[in-house]
Amino acid sequence: MRPLIVIRRVPKIDFMRWHFFGFAFSGVLTVVTIVLFLMQGLNYGIDFVGGTLIEARNISGPADLAAMRARLEALHLGDPSLQTFGSPQDVLIRLPQQPGGDAAQMKAVQQAREALGPGIDYRRVEVVGPSVGGELIRAGVLATVLALGAIMIYIWFRFEWQFGIGATLSTLHDVVTTVGLFAIFQLEFNLTTLAAILTIAGYSINDTVVIYDRVRESMRKYRTMSLRELINLALNETLSRTILTVSTVALAVLALLIFGGQVLRGFSIAMLWGIAIGTYSSLFIAAPLLYYVQPNRRAIARSDDAREPGVERAPR
């Protein structure tokens, strides 16, 4: 049984010609992210800033948001935010962090339950006190930094340090711009988002490694080819793999986005973006960066001689 769709020919796209646009685009994106992050900040979920989140379903029919809001406002628990989501019966209620420590948060949710009265099914209630919120931020930032560090060290081990720089920069770019996506659209940034970001870091580096592997292999094979040509060749040779893999992962994530329900929406959006930006950055950031950090080709060729003698060479 033969495949129905085959990419028969190795494409000859001059990626290096476009890399300036890539750098410029990414530069702008990164700067916009940083500016937005500093000016507007992120729409942090309660995992990070504390507070109360209640997903309530009005059992008898469409929920009366105004009445619910009035009841909650009467409690003087700060400015409650209410919005329907999914169906008109379902309401997402957010109460801000209460002054007065952990006990005050617990009291607030109890009061809210009493104020809203019967006839409401509490599908989800999350209360995060101030002492945990700060820890979660620290743990999250630490995880991201450590992950990047660990990945860089791994690349360093497997490749030469120049590759490590390229991989780290492009992964950092993906992480930053994913945060940017959340800053631009003010999507809720919570623990699941953080998980998505780390997964994106893993995916993006994965993509970069495949290309770097090929660049290094070509360096051994074609010792006289210019670095620019080499990078182009490696990108073209791995292009079909890049497209196929990004497609399968994107299919899986799309299924999650469409069918996975409200709880996974933020995660799926982050992942989808991350896959796109991760693939883009491997092609237009990570690979061209090698041209600028100039890996030591002689050393790479030598390590090849020592390890696997007899690998065929291109005719001179």
Partner: protein
């Protein structure tokens, strides 16, 4: 390439069979599981609270508060010790984690050090040469006390929760002084929270009637007494206060039973002392007939009845303005015992059973659709080899489920996302191998050597990409909490199983195909 040692085949096939076998129970409802023959494994993947519905509470034991309480009781001994040794001092106080004071007689510092050293073995005494002094618990004893307090709290929380009839609660230590409570099936934990939030320290203390509360407030406080407020009774009363002797006649730790009952149609709590408690209570009541005593719960007076006759039977009744609910809660708390330190609730996450079921449904649909899309995609782009990859993917899924079941890992909604994602990423290994085989074919190699080269050359790349994902997974597991841990677990397990299935299973399939059917060309 064609050579595959028999033992290797055996291992691969064996692993796949075991994977299928151990993932099988997950297809059945728990009720159906009971009907399966004994030879088939029964262990299912444990569902997280976000999928089965329930409450997750993160508690913190306020060890510092317990320590402050203890310092406050010790401060009397310090005062006595200094007075007995006739050493002048000022500013005796509890500040933070220490008892602080200033010795006035600077030439008697050594005597002061000696006298204070005998107060409590666990306290270290520091008196500087200018007379400023502090007594603290040694780090060792603080550490011991902390551990003890948390262990005891876990025990008492377990008892309290068991009394409420919650099924299969999980109560475990988290970090240094935190306790994680998981209550499956509880979607409104307000009652449990109310029960956990109370220390429930019950004491019986004599009321001092030598002066009125007003007089005591104005500064004529008799030594060894304190003013305690009455419990608010919910009817707007309360606010009254009592002057109570600090010395405890009998403590709640000597209770052996407490029950909510009725007396004159009012809900009350009846209790029974153990031997020592009964004797102490009997003695105290015999000496104080006609005087009132206070029943104090968490530093608030429930009631202050007058002792009409000595109570020698070792049992009694607490009446106050109880409702049926508050009476039965108090009885429950007294039976379970007092917490060694106050507890605060840091985090609550509750999911209703309905949302949990919806999430399972959504996760399952998303995974099935995702896997189906990937399967079709692989066949479209790789034909027969795509089917091989799909078979490997199937075993990968089985192995993942089997590993999750066997490890007793908890499957959460993000965990399901992890599975769906892994399915998408797992075929990456196949894509890498197949693309490589194609390239080798294009460069003019023979069929067999292309296959061989495809696998060996792609391996390094596959390993690199898996390791990097694994790094992210392990870090997530280490630093994440709750549902995120669930995601990290499935992601990491998925990376490992896909390494096995995508490389070894696919390879075995291709080798078998080549051997059995002796194809002339590779359909790629």
């Amino acid at each position: 390439m064609l050579y595959f040692a028999n033992w290797k085949i055996l291992v691969i096939v064996g692993a796949c069979v075991l994977g299928v076998l151990f993932s099988l129970p997950n297809l059945f409802a728990p009720a159906q599981l009971a009907w399966l023959p004994k030879a088939i494994p029964h262990k299912q993947v444990a569902l997280g609270l976000d999928l089965r519905g329930g409450s997750y509470l993160l508690l913190e034991v306020d060890v510092a508060a317990a320590q402050r309480d203890r310092l406050n009781t010790i401060i009397d001994n310090v005062r006595n010790a200094l007075r007995d040794a006739k050493i002048g001092y000022t500013g005796l106080n509890v500040e933070g984690d220490a008892i602080t004071f200033t010795i006035r007689d600077l030439d008697r510092l050594d005597a002061a050090r000696q006298a204070l050293g005998k107060v409590d073995q666990e306290l270290t005494v520091e008196v500087a040469n200018d007379g400023a002094g502090a007594m603290r618990f040694s780090t060792q004893s603080t550490e011991n006390r902390r551990r003890q307090a948390v262990d005891q709290s876990i025990e008492i929380i377990r008892r309290r929760i068991d009394e409420t009839g919650t099924k299969e609660p999980t109560i475990q230590r988290e970090g240094q002084n935190r306790i994680l409570v998981q209550l499956p099936g509880v979607d409104n934990p307000e009652h449990v929270k109310a029960l956990l939030g109370r220390t429930a320290k019950l004491t019986f203390q004599m009321v001092d009637s030598s002066v009125t509360v007003e007089e005591a407030r104005r500064g004529r406080m008799p030594p060894g007494t304190e003013i305690l407020q009455a419990v608010e009774d919910g009817r707007g009363r309360g606010g009254s206060a009592y002057l109570v002797r600090k010395r405890v006649m009998v403590g709640g730790d000597t209770l052996v039973d407490a029950q909510a009952t009725f007396q004159n149609n009012e809900p009350v709590v009846s209790f029974r002392f153990d031997g020592t408690g009964a004797k102490r209570f009997g003695d105290a009541t015999r000496e104080n007939v006609g005087k009132p005593f206070a029943i104090v719960l968490d530093n608030k007076v429930i009631s202050a009845p007058v002792i009409r006759e000595p109570i020698l039977g070792g049992s009694g009744v607490i009446s106050g303005s109880f409702t049926v609910q508050t009476a039965s809660d108090l009885a429950l708390l007294l039976r379970a015992g007092a917490l060694p330190a106050p507890i605060s609730i840091l985090e609550e996450r509750s999911v209703g059973a309905e949302l949990g079921a919806d999430s399972i449904h959504a996760g399952a649909v998303a995974s099935i659709v995702g896997v189906a899309l990937v399967v079709v995609f692989m066949v479209l782009f790789y034909g027969l080899f795509g089917i091989f990859a799909d078979i490997a993917l199937f075993f990968n899924l089985c192995l993942m489920l089997a590993a999750l079941s066997l490890l007793g890992a908890t499957l959460t909604l993000p965990g399901i996302a992890g599975i769906a994602l892994t399915m998408g990423m797992a075929v990456d290994a196949n894509v890498l191998i197949y693309e490589r085989i194609r390239e080798e074919l294009r460069s003019g190699r023979t069929m067999l050597s292309s296959l061989e080269a495809g696998f060996t050359r792609a391996f390094g790349t596959i390993l690199d990409s898996h390791v990097t994902t694994l790094v992210a997974g392990v870090l997530l597991y280490w630093l994440g909490s709750g549902p995120i841990k669930g995601f990290a677990v499935t992601l990491s397990i998925g990376v490992l199983t896909s390494l096995f299935s995508a490389i070894l299973v696919t390879r075995l399939l291709i080798v078998t195909w080549v051997r059995q059917l002796k194809p002339k060309a590779i359909p790629l």
